[in-house]
């Protein structure tokens, strides 16, 4: 059936259009598992870690931490079993790349996992798939079954002495389980409430064992890096942010879809050239560059390369690369209502600032939208966001605070106009 959405491909996604790529036979026919095979036979785990480190691969789950560094944190002197966790709890609004990777390229994920497992000495990988991704989980399970039957996984993975198995655990609808320690709690059959650190997962992770958590797309880069080398990988993207990533473009664009492009590709290029700009000749008002928790950029600031070192200068981040486009009809207070509702609903409820702050922000946004806001409310919103930022167990509180800060930074006028007119001044905006 092919891939249903508009897309631009590169090494991760070049076979997305090809149904056979999801099968072992089809994957192998296109060079699949060669990298893992070579790695497990010819490379010492430390060398794999060093190679991935030198490739500069950064996690694609939102935080952008060096994957090689993360792998190196796993203790080498521990006699405890070590685990790898594949974070497939993709729940960041505006992000859908991991879902498509699971559905279209499940063996690529497994190959990446196998390389990561070899590098870290993990005996088992738990793939935590968000509960709603039933089809993706099925596709991945089929791939696991095929790989087991073929000896790619199992007691003698790829015919070596290395034993590795992969287990899928399905989540059940909680955004916070995308946070790595919330995920670990959920994996252990608990509420997905993030753990306080220390201890960190590399010491005390899944079921109390040393654990490394990587995102789906992150694993998918690994076979390509192992096959082609760090220099090749660094040939894509920027010096500080090498490689490609799969941008998911949604909202008010002609061609919402998946665009695998080098990091550092300009945001306006993604929005206007690849996704075709806003339909109906309308103008762009703002773009969220990296999934809903990243601060919005106004139309005038879209000439930015999509890599953290550049985005940070504009007080936003790459996040998961979910590009959400809003046209000139959009009421940014309504956007704030939708966003703050989400974070209120998804806060795990542990930390005071997050539990109470998300609720308060949402209530204020709704009141402003109803026309009952005051100018003081705008300062209170920023103040609450400031009190949440950096003060909770996990980064969720930051993720809930940043969008509000971004909207008020660039679209304060929208909020003020609601207060002045005592109603929403954007009749053409999307409905709440």
């Amino acid at each position: 059936m092919g891939l249903k959405v508009p897309h631009v491909t590169n090494y991760l996604s070049e076979h997305f259009g090809d149904d056979a790529y999801a099968t072992l036979e089809g994957y192998r026919a296109r060079g699949g598992y060669e990298a893992a095979s070579k790695t497990l036979r010819d490379m010492a785990p430390d060398d794999v870690v060093e190679l991935v480190k030198s490739s500069g691969l950064q996690g694609r789950g939102g935080a952008g931490f060096s994957t090689g560094m993360k792998w190196s944190f796993m203790p080498t002197d521990s006699d405890k079993p070590k685990y790898l966790v594949c974070n497939a709890d993709e729940s960041e609004p505006g992000s859908f790349k991991d879902r498509i990777l699971m559905e279209r390229a499940p063996h690529k994920i497994l190959e990446g996992i196998l390389i990561g497992a070899w590098a870290t000495g993990a005996e088992k990988t738990f793939v935590y798939v968000r509960g709603e991704y039933a089809y993706g989980a099925d596709m991945l399970q089929r791939a696991i079954d095929e790989a087991r039957a073929d000896g790619i996984l199992g007691n003698r993975a790829m015919g070596t002495d290395f034993a590795h198995d992969v287990v899928i655990t399905r989540g059940a609808g909680a955004y916070i389980c995308g946070e790595e320690t919330g995920l670990l709690e959920s994996l252990e059959g608990k509420k997905g409430q993030p753990r306080k650190k220390p201890p960190f997962p590399a010491q005390y992770g899944a079921f109390g064992m040393p654990t490394t958590v990587n995102n789906v797309e992150t694993f998918c880069h690994a076979p390509h890096i192992l096959a082609n080398g760090a220099e090749w990988f660094r040939g894509f993207g920027t010096e500080k942010s090498p490689g490609t990533t799969i941008f998911g473009v949604s909202g008010h664009v002609e061609r919402a879809g998946l665009y695998e492009l080098p990091l550092g590709t300009r945001l306006d290029e993604i929005v206007f050239e690849h996704a075709g700009g806003v339909p109906g000749g309308r103008k762009v008002k703002g773009v969220i560059p990296g999934g809903m928790s990243m601060p919005i950029l106004p139309a005038g600031l879209l000439d930015v390369p999509m890599a953290n070192e550049f985005l940070r200068e504009r007080k936003t981040m790459l996040g998961t690369g979910g590009v959400m486009v809003m046209d000139e009809t959009t009421c940014m207070v309504r956007a704030a209502c939708v966003i703050s509702y989400f974070f209120r609903d998804e806060s795990c409820g542990q930390c005071t600032q997050c539990r109470e702050g998300t609720g308060w922000i949402h209530k204020i946004c709704e009141r402003i939208e109803r026309g009952a806001g005051t100018m003081e409310d705008l300062d209170i919103l920023l103040d609450i966001a400031g009190k949440m930022e950096g003060q909770a167990i996990c980064a969720f509180a930051d993720a809930a605070a940043w969008p509000v800060q971004g909207l008020l930074r660039h679209f304060r006028e929208d909020f003020e106009e609601h207060v002045r007119q005592k109603k929403c001044p954007f009749p053409e905006s999307f409905e709440l």
Partner: protein, 509 residues
């Protein structure tokens, strides 16, 4: 041992502790170094969720929660900077946006950490205009506890307590975000032998005990340190006293005895003090065989007369004395001396046993069994045998545990005795056979020491004065000894002076 610096004060702290634990270890927490906190509790697992205990740690960009940040040698911590104060203010404001403004009708008022910290660390006025969360009021959680969901600040101490201390785990946090609420499993109750501790550790008025709520405003209460007398564990308590009445027991922290807990049965044993069945007057049996109230002097005179006549006729060998494991060591020291002076050879201590557990509750249902034994009062069975065998004609008995079914069972054996002198705090079937009854004092009404199961000698002091006539058993015996003209007995009783002769009292707490 790592050395850390907190607010320019150098501290030697134990390896592996967190900042808050280290402060607690050296007794400085909220007692020299103010790091306010809600979810952290010294005897529960670290939760790290209230975020109130954030402090500045030199070299770290973000504020750190003191409860979960391990100490490191050379660590420099600041607890009173502007950033810290702002963070505290932020937490306090956020905790208050949904908290009902019902302090005037809240029973926690006066000992509410939300009230205290809001005053100390909060902002003067609330900026919220939003409706507060509407949740369940007055939830009947079980036999002992009432829960106000709206007042709950979700510190989860109660949830952790039930899981970690009694291990019963009745409570959970349901839902998430600002819909989070604490509940029991549908149809289940919070019902365990330690349930009432949740009210103590609840920093706000969400969990209150059915027993104490609305009885009195806590600011009228005077907290007197004491020891629970419910069993041999000797849990440390504060007696909440007003108007010469004990309103409640609260656990008093002693890491060597009871951590910060007491069992529900012990907590409720405060009711014994003001019970209606206290012995309130000296009594003597009249010519018609009826117990009549009389003066202490008259009661003592008759008791002495009966004993003197018997001892003169038959010797002290026919007299037996039963010590009470509820009496203080000082009371029992006087009893021992009395026995020695009179020549009483048959004596023992009566102790009732019941259920025990691995946590606090001990089988011996009295506070000073170990003390009595240390003073030479042995097992009661030989004494019972002599009683049943008819070798005893006069009995001096402290307390009425002797009548417990595991010991004498009833008063039949005592019915034919020439003389029965009872010293007791509470009325019992002993009155059927007693010739003289002398009112004693509860451990909350006198000075002295109690020795717990582990041999720890602990002081008690008068928290209330009986509203009727009652004397410490030691004083009654001292005066009886004087009435008998026993050598060394001048009628005076000085527990403070006697204390030195209590075995193990040298290292008393």
């Amino acid at each position: 041992m790592p050395t850390i610096t907190i607010d320019d004060r150098e501290l030697q702290v134990e390896e592996g502790r967190t900042i808050l634990q280290a402060l607690d270890d050296v007794g400085l927490l909220m007692n020299g170094v103010d790091v306010p906190h809600y979810c952290w509790h010294p005897k529960l697992s670290i939760d790290g969720s209230c975020r109130l205990c954030q402090v500045e740690v030199e070299g770290l960009p973000k504020l750190q929660i003191a409860c979960n940040t391990p100490v490191q040698d050379g660590m420099v911590v600041r607890t009173q900077t502007e950033r810290v104060k702002n963070a505290r203010e932020g937490v306090m404001e956020l905790l208050l946006i949904n908290h009902p403004l019902d302090c005037p009708i809240c029973d926690q008022a006066g000992e509410c950490k939300l009230q205290d910290y809001a005053f100390e660390y909060g902002v003067p006025s609330s900026r919220t205009r939003e409706p507060r969360r509407a949740l369940k009021k007055s939830v009947d959680l079980g036999p002992t506890i009432v829960f106000d969901q709206e007042r709950c600040i979700l510190c989860r101490r109660c949830v952790r307590f039930c899981r970690e201390v009694p291990g019963t785990g009745e409570l959970g946090v349901f839902n998430r975000g600002d819909h989070s609420v604490i509940e029991t499993f549908p149809g289940m109750q919070l019902d365990n032998p330690y349930s009432m501790n949740v009210a103590d550790i609840c920093p706000v008025g969400a969990l209150t005990t059915k027993d104490f709520r609305f009885k009195i405003r806590v600011w009228f209460l005077n907290d007197v340190p004491g020891v629970c007398t419910g069993c041999a564990n000797g849990c440390n308590i504060h007696l909440g006293v007003a108007n010469n009445k004990v309103y409640r027991y609260l656990p008093r922290r002693n890491d060597a005895v009871n951590d910060t807990w007491i069992c529900d049965a012990g907590r409720m044993s405060y009711r014994e003090i003001g019970a209606a069945d206290r012995v309130q007057h000296p009594m003597v049996r009249d010519a018609d065989g009826v117990l009549q109230e009389t003066s202490l002097d008259e009661a003592l005179r008759q008791a002495a007369q009966r004993l003197r006549r018997l001892v003169d006729a038959k010797g002290a060998g026919v007299v037996a004395a039963v010590a009470s494991a509820h009496a203080t060591n000082e009371d029992l020291l006087v009893l021992r001396r009395f026995n020695e002076a009179l020549g009483v050879e048959t004596s023992a201590v009566a102790v009732v046993e019941g259920d025990s557990d691995d946590l606090l509750v001990k089988a011996e249902k009295a506070a000073n069994g170990a003390g009595a034994r240390a003073l030479g009062f042995g097992d009661a069975r030989p004494l019972l045998d002599r009683l049943r065998g008819g070798g005893v004609e006069a009995l001096l008995v402290l307390g009425h545990d002797l009548l417990h079914e595991s010991l004498l069972g009833d008063t039949e054996t005592l019915a034919g005795l020439d003389t029965v002198i009872v010293l007791d705090t509470h009325r019992s079937k002993l009155e059927r056979v007693a010739h003289v009854v002398l009112p004693g004092r509860h451990a909350a009404e006198k000075r002295g020491t109690l020795t717990n199961h582990a041999g720890l000698v602990q002081d008690v002091q008068p928290a209330v004065e009986p509203a009727f006539q009652a004397w410490a058993e030691g004083e009654l015996l001292a005066r009886l000894g004087a009435a008998l003209g026993l050598p060394g007995f001048d009628g005076s009783f000085d527990p403070a002076a006697l204390r030195a002769d209590v075995p193990g009292a040298g290292d008393a707490a």
